[in-house]
């Protein structure tokens, strides 16, 4: 799928409604779990609050704040009309002009907008209709370009992981390791990296790093998630500072088996729930059924943004049917009482015959000599 084909699909969905236009909104605070409808419509990753207006004829106008960032927007989106503004709502008012109150407007991303901005938008156009599905449904499948970027992000993730193995040592703080890893991935060409990393003798979960100094015997769990040109890819890994006990090795093998079951279940026509169920089954068979639910586990994977995060979570309540060119994480990432939390996951793209990992080397427990 090309970007243009996706935009045509979005326009077709818009035409099928009674809406005259869709306003895609984002506040510029990028987060792995917050979809960005502006990126879906334009490919532009903003510094500040931003909006893209798509009309039924297919024309897109991008309101960019701060105004000094407009030239970058024009460079990235040559086919889009750029409207520089220093206040998003003032910019929108100008773009919508006399149409405000006369046309039917849908909004995507409104629910995640900061209240201060969203309330002003609601004051401007009180009858805005929710239109997230118009923008995000056609973005369930990644474009060819997004998939290429995901592959590059994966390459960077794997190189970053090797760097982590090279530098992690007792005495280093989690923060130092996470910050170094993020910086290193930028040196490899990523513009950002969601490095969720922590360490301890018995991790209850993976959590943001803090100032704790790592110790020999710690297990480091990390999600390394670089973004290349706005497309995220992730690998989930587990490392031991020292020699791994046999029990830990055995349990890690179990989690890897669970992941492999997830890959096997991820075929076109299956649902995300099926993938989750297949991973759960491996763990349930070993007596870990009660750990297959919150608070031990919320999901077994997720879509990868920053644009759309469809097809959503690999979770029992997600009935989304898998289609080729969907991109999502398959990660069992399981807490086990004997070992603590174990991270194991790969980015997967769905092909006609099933899920393919984008990684060159799949998760295996690594020991760092100390």
């Amino acid at each position: 799928m090309t970007f243009e084909e996706r935009l045509a699909a979005i326009r077709a969905k818009l035409t099928a409604t009674r809406l005259d236009c869709v306003i895609a909104l984002h506040d510029g605070a990028h987060f792995i779990e917050k979809p960005d409808p502006v990126m879906v419509l334009t490919g532009f990753k903003a510094l500040g609050p931003v909006a893209a207006v798509l009309d039924r004829a297919g024309a897109v106008t991008l309101i960019v704040t701060p105004s000094w960032d407009a030239e970058r927007a024009a460079e990235i989106c040559p086919d889009v009309k750029i409207a520089p503004a220093d206040d998003l709502i003032a910019g929108l008012t100008s773009v919508l002009g006399a149409n405000v109150g006369r046309i039917a407007i849908g909004a995507a991303g409104l629910g995640a907008m900061p209240y201060g901005l969203a309330q002003r938008l609601a004051d401007l156009t009180p009858l805005v209709h929710p239109a997230d599905a118009i923008v995000f449904d056609p973005a369930k499948r990644k474009t060819d370009r997004e998939l290429a970027h995901a592959r590059e992000a994966t390459r960077i993730a794997e190189l970053g992981y090797q760097h982590l193995i090279d530098i992690a040592r007792p005495g280093m703080t989690e923060d130092e390791l996470a910050a170094e890893l993020r910086w290193h991935s930028k040196s490899l060409g990523a513009e950002d990296n969601f490095v969720l990393l922590c360490a301890g003798p018995h991790n209850r979960a993976v959590a943001p790093s803090n100032g704790r100094r790592m110790q020999a015997g710690d297990t480091i769990v990390c999600e390394i998630t670089p973004s290349y040109r706005g497309q995220l890819a992730q690998i989930c890994r587990t490392i031991v500072l020292g020699a791994a006990p046999t029990l830990l090795r055995d349990k890690y093998d179990l989690v890897v088996s669970s992941m492999q079951a997830g890959f096997a279940a991820a075929v076109p026509g299956a649902t995300m729930a099926d993938v989750c169920g297949a991973m759960n089954a491996v763990l349930e068979a070993e007596g870990y059924g009660k750990f297959c639910h919150p608070p031990h586990i919320r999901r077994r994977g997720h879509g990868l943004g920053f644009g759309a995060i469809e097809p959503g979570d690999v979770a029992l309540d997600n009935t989304t049917v898998l289609e080729p060119d969907m991109l999502f994480m398959i990660h069992p990432n399981q807490y086990l009482p004997e070992t603590g939390y174990l991270l194991c996951g790969e980015p997967a793209v769905l092909a006609a015959h099933g899920a393919q990992a984008l990684t060159r080397q799949q998760a295996a427990l690594v020991e760092i000599a100390v």
Binding site: D27, G28, A29, H30, F31, I32, K45, L47, G48, T65, P66, S67, W68, D69, R72, D86, L110, G111, A112, M113, P114, Y115, G116, Q119, T173, D175, E176, A178, A179, E180, R182, W183, K186, S187, L188, G189, E191, D192, N193, F194, V195, L196, L197, C198, R204, A205, A207, P208, S209, N210, G211, R212, T225, S227, Y228, R229, L232, P294, P295, R298
Partner: protein, 374 residues
């Protein structure tokens, strides 16, 4: 100053009572209650981008998801942390607040807490405009008749603007880290490194010096426009125009800088404008006057688009503390406030330079660049 917001804040953010004792937070809270004499409690929201008020009152930096501090006038505060119960241990070192709970059913939880305060007074809401629209509406709905919400942002911002001695120690360290980062940037440029290698050299230096965060922008078109780091760029630029913002223990310091090996007449002119402005920057000086001073120094050259609307701001727990400094406002410079001043010009190419100045009772003190900017 807008920079690209990172998807996760990964730098050191633990609360260190040696840097900011618990007593300082108690004093800040006491001031909050004085500013809101009828309030029985405060609801303080922060997310990874907008959390200056939360950091000021609790030290907490929401690295991953949003957090809400519930601070009663009497009794122990508690903090609701986004991300579920398993995120609580990682959050604990980031604040002195010991009662942490997951941020679930936020509106209902917050309204329940307010109800238990069992008083007819109002509640101060801080950071409410940065709440997600749906959450804020849910809170408004949940509150119904429970209590009145009083927006406390402006009053707190005025308090936050004036820095205590302890805060200034942190700001000075942030400026020192910024200085080292800029030195690394210039050294890389002097050694003919590519554009992003120069940027990365500065960022790495700041991180290794203990920066909590570092942001950057740079120009590929002779200072005309600025852009965030996107992909690596091996090309060189001389002069190379950049912007760095460094955060240390919550507090920001920022700088527009230029580096290169050749003569830089445009950069020199921008520096002269900055110096002219700094010469007039004293407690009580008005923004209008400083802007006029910059205008006169610039002569017939255009102002740089980046500083056309605002030529600086107070800086601290957020990069742009209000008020923003602009030529059409009568804001005057205040004692114990740290300002980031910017000067720039545009003539096809562009140049922007900056300085960080603390207004003291004895006069202005240049915090960055160290010593005389000339």
């Amino acid at each position: 100053m807008h920079t690209m917001h990172p998807t996760l804040l990964v730098g050191p953010a633990d609360w260190d009572p040696q840097h900011t004792p618990r007593r300082d937070y108690e004093d800040r809270l006491a001031t909050l209650w004085r500013d809101h004499p009828h309030a029985v409690g405060a609801i303080v929201h922060g997310n990874s981008r907008d959390h200056a008020a939360l950091a000021y009152l609790t030290h907490f930096t929401p690295k991953l998801e949003a957090a809400v501090a519930l601070m009663p006038r009497h009794g122990e505060p508690q903090m609701l942390i986004g991300g579920g119960v398993n995120m609580l241990p990682a959050a604990k070192p980031l604040t002195f607040i010991s009662q942490l709970a997951p941020l679930r059913d936020a509106a209902k939880t917050i309204a329940g807490w307010a109800h238990r305060l069992d008083a007819a007074g109002s509640l101060v809401l801080l950071g409410g405009d940065a709440m997600p629209y749906q959450l804020r509406r849910a809170i408004d709905d949940a509150f119904g008749n429970v209590a009145t919400l009083e927006n406390g942002d402006a009053a707190l911002q005025a308090r936050m603007r004036r820095k205590s001695a302890g805060e200034l120690r942190i700001v000075r360290e942030a400026c020192a880290i910024l200085g080292d980062a800029v030195t690394a940037f210039r050294e890389a440029a002097r050694r003919d490194k590519g554009v992003t290698d120069c940027i990365l050299a500065a960022e790495h230096t700041a991180l290794r010096r203990g920066a909590q965060d570092v942001r950057s922008l740079f120009s590929l078109d002779e200072g005309r426009t600025f852009r965030p780091f996107d992909v690596t760029i091996a090309q060189r630029r001389d002069p190379l125009q950049a912007y760095f913002a460094v955060r240390y223990d919550g507090y920001w310091a920022d700088a527009f800088v230029r580096a290169g090996t050749q003569d830089d007449p445009l950069g020199r002119q921008a520096k002269m404008i900055l110096e002219a402005m700094l010469a007039e920057a004293k407690t009580g000086a008005s923004c209008r006057m400083l802007h006029q001073c910059a205008d006169m120094s610039r002569g017939t050259l255009w102002p740089h688009p980046l500083i056309e609307e605002t030529f600086g701001s107070s800086i601290g727990l957020s990069l742009d503390e209000p008020p923003l400094l602009s030529g059409d406002c009568d804001t005057v410079l205040e004692t114990n406030v740290v300002y980031s001043f910017r000067a720039g010009l545009f003539s096809g190419a562009g140049a922007v330079v900056s300085a960080i100045v603390l207004m003291t009772e004895r006069g202005p003190e240049l915090l960055w660049p160290a010593g005389d900017p000339s």
